[in-house]
Structures are given as structure tokens and as C-alpha cells.
Amino acid sequence: MKNKSLISINDYTPDELLKIINLAEEFEKNPIQDILKGKVIATLFFEPSTRTRLSFESAVNRLGGRIIGFTDASSSSVKKGESLRDTIKTVSNYCDLIVMRHPLDGSARFASEVANVPVINAGDGANQHPTQCLLDLYSIKKTQGTLENLNISLVGDLKYGRTVHSLLMAMSNFNPTFNFISPNELKIPDEYKLFLDNKGIKYYEHTDFSDIISRADIIYMTRIQKERFSDPIEYEKVKNSYVLHNDMLKNTKNNLKILHPLPRVNEISEDVDKNEKAYYFTQALNGVYTRQAIISSILGLK
């Protein structure tokens, strides 16, 4: 994995996914180390994403590395019309690793072809966000003790939600059972169902957010956005049907954990927060350890 860019979650084999997860566990036990001393990491955020950027910068800082970069494109040469190719070529002379977030789909793959240092994709448009996926996997492994044979309910926007698609692809290496719970307009796309069919993985589709979660080991909640609906009336009809309330968790399994990529709007009601099954804030913290694992593995330090 040394010097190999991380652009898409599919770039990693199941063994490599597990290697990162195990490494993240190590960093959680010992998060402050000096292994990045003398290394410069560029964080290029062509669109703002404070949450992701702070998580990366915290990961680097705790390992003694230095950071250069920009937090949104308006403060950089990009605004003056510089091409992505030129920006990446220039910056890759100044650093050991590039962390990039960009609004265009596929921009990260392109950057990795142009740069002479490895690139970590911190989100390319609607396409991929592999470090989010790895922290989801780490959260699942940590709370369930395994990634194998789990029952996973995915709730909300399953059509456009890139975190859901990446999680589905990555978890499919570990024989899960999926329950897809979404309004008709936001059902999981056929290409993913075809993918699961080919792998022989069981999945069930539901439009009702109901008892089905009583069998779940993991509930992965996502945001339903108004702009995804062509008909605003349809949105009004469904917007409150996919909200998780504390009383819905009564008959759920003891080991159940609720995940959410954050930020949430109203899809998890605040009365869930104090339930020990709520895990989304710890999940965000896990992002720091996971990113430490990814960075040090790509730089060949672990």
C-alpha cells in the first residue's frame, strides 16, 4: 500500500481494508506519536468541508507532521483560472502526500495520475469518499468485534448517498445481510443490486421504516435532501417517515449501534443521542484514528 493513492474504496482488497482497520485500532491505543516528523502533508480543499479537513489535520498534527494547503478554492490560484493539473503538479513538489477534496467527480483519480506523490481522496463530487468508508468499517468492527455475517439496515437516501454505496461495496466482502429502507424515489440503484446478486449477498428492500430493524446489528442513517425530489409534494410526504426515534429502539438487539456520516438534520431525533446504541459521535472520532492509519500506511511508516 506504500505510495499507493487511495481514490476509491474499491482500490483496496479485503486484506488491505483489514490492515487499515487493525492499524486504526493501534492508533486509538496510542494516538500521539512522532512518526510524521519532517513530513509535509498538503490538504487541498477546493470546496469547504470543515469536518473532514479538521479530522485529517488533527490526524496529521497528532503524529507530528506539518500541513500546507487551502480551505476553499476562492482563496487560491484556482480562482485565477489555473487548471487542476497545474495546481496538483505544483503542489506535489512541496509535499509528501496530498489530501484533496474537489467538487468534480473523478478529480481525485485525475490528480493521482498527475501528482508525483500519493493522493488521498477526501471526497470527489458525488463519487467517492473512501476515508469515510474506512472509518465506517472501523466503527463497525470496533462495536461488533467482527465484519463478518452482520445484519445491516441502510436508511434514507440510498440513491444518491455515496457513503451508502461505498459501504455496501466494502461490506460485501464480509457476507452481510442488507435491509434497504427508503422512499421509492430514493431506492438503491439497480447496478448495486446487480453487484450484490452476482456476489450472492442477501438483501431486502422496504419502504416502511418498521420492525425490520429489530434484527439489525448496524443501522446506518442518511439524510434525505429536498433537492433530490423532482416533486416537492413527494418530499413533504416522506420527509418524516424516515426519522429514527428512541421508542423505535425498544425491541432492537443489545449489540445494535446506530451510525450516521454526519451532519444530521432531523433524521435522528435528539432523544436517541443518550441511548447507548447511538454511536455517531464516536464514529466521527474514529475518523481521526482511521486517517492516521491510512496516512502512515501510504507513507510506508507502518
Binding site: 476509491s8 487548471s83 487542476l84 493539473r85 467538487p103 468534480l104 467527480d105 473523478g106 478529480s107 483519480r109 485525475f110 470527489d124 463530487g125 458525488a126 463519487n127 467517492q128 447496478e191
Partner: protein, 152 residues
């Protein structure tokens, strides 16, 4: 008019005849093969009636022999195309075209938010289905299907 008589009208001594091109794809084939940049003698014919294709086109090029990877690109717009390799006025070899496994350039990604449609990047696709052509963009990972396939 039969194929034979068409061939005989402007028979070539050495070269390649590409037959069974759908008439609507003739200019796409010319552009994919960059025939406009070629210095050879060429004949283009179009709107011949074909039982199989409706209206078909054909191209004859003197003293030009294509490599497989060159000619297979036209399978995207002319999957039924047949090649006749001519030596000394005789057809010495017949070939069909096959959609290649990867396609670089030629096709536009149908995703407007793809980096290839916004920066100066040459497109690249993995072919995930050859029969009903489906191309997966190596950059944005979205699929461009037959219906949305546009030649650059």
C-alpha cells in the same frame, strides 16, 4: 446494386474495404479512424440499401492496413462492420470488429460533473458490456450506456 458491383466500380489494388457501416455512423467512423488526416486515396459510399442495416455505408482505402486496436474502436458506432483486406484486387482476409476492453479518448463521459468534461483530461473507460455497449468511466466511475454514447 450488389456489393460486388459497388466494389468493382472503384476497385482498389491494395488496401482495406470497411463494409456494413450504418449510414448514420459513416462520419463518426471517419473521425474515429482519423481518415481526414490520412494521405491515402479513399472512396466513401453511403445510403446503400442493406437488408440487415437499412442504409449502410462503406469505405475503401488504398494502401492502408489497420492494426486490430486501431480498427476495433469503430465497433462502438459500427458493431456489424466487416473488413476486407485487399491484395492485388483479391480479398485475402475478412475480419469483424470487436469492442475493445478499454477505450481511451473517442467517447465523451455522459456525466456532466465528470472531471473529463470540465478539465483538459482525455477520457478513459473500462468496457463492462460489449453487446449492449456500457462503458465505466475510469475517473467518475459512472456508466455511459449505448443510448447516451457520444463520440468526441
Amino acid at each position: 446494386m450488389t456489393d460486388k458491383t459497388i466494389l468493382s466500380v472503384t476497385a482498389i489494388k491494395e488496401g482495406t474495404v470497411i463494409d456494413h457501416i450504418p449510414a448514420k455512423s459513416l462520419f463518426k467512423v471517419i473521425s474515429i479512424l482519423e481518415l481526414d488526416k490520412l494521405n491515402a486515396q479513399m472512396t466513401f459510399g453511403t445510403n446503400f440499401i442493406s437488408k440487415k442495416l437499412g442504409r449502410k455505408a462503406l469505405i475503401k482505402i488504398s494502401n492502408k492496413f489497420f492494426k486490430d486496436e486501431e480498427i476495433d474502436k469503430i465497433a462502438l458506432v459500427a458493431p456489424e462492420a466487416k473488413l476486407n483486406i485487399i491484395k492485388d484486387y483479391q480479398v485475402v482476409e475478412k475480419r469483424e470488429v470487436e469492442v475493445p476492453d478499454t477505450i481511451t479518448g473517442i467517447v465523451k463521459c455522459m456525466n456532466p460533473n465528470c472531471v473529463t468534461n470540465n478539465e483538459n483530461v482525455i477520457t478513459r473507460f473500462n468496457v463492462i458490456s460489449k453487446k449492449e455497449v456500457a462503458l465505466k468511466c475510469c475517473y467518475c466511475e459512472k456508466i455511459t450506456d449505448q443510448e447516451h454514447l457520444k463520440i468526441i
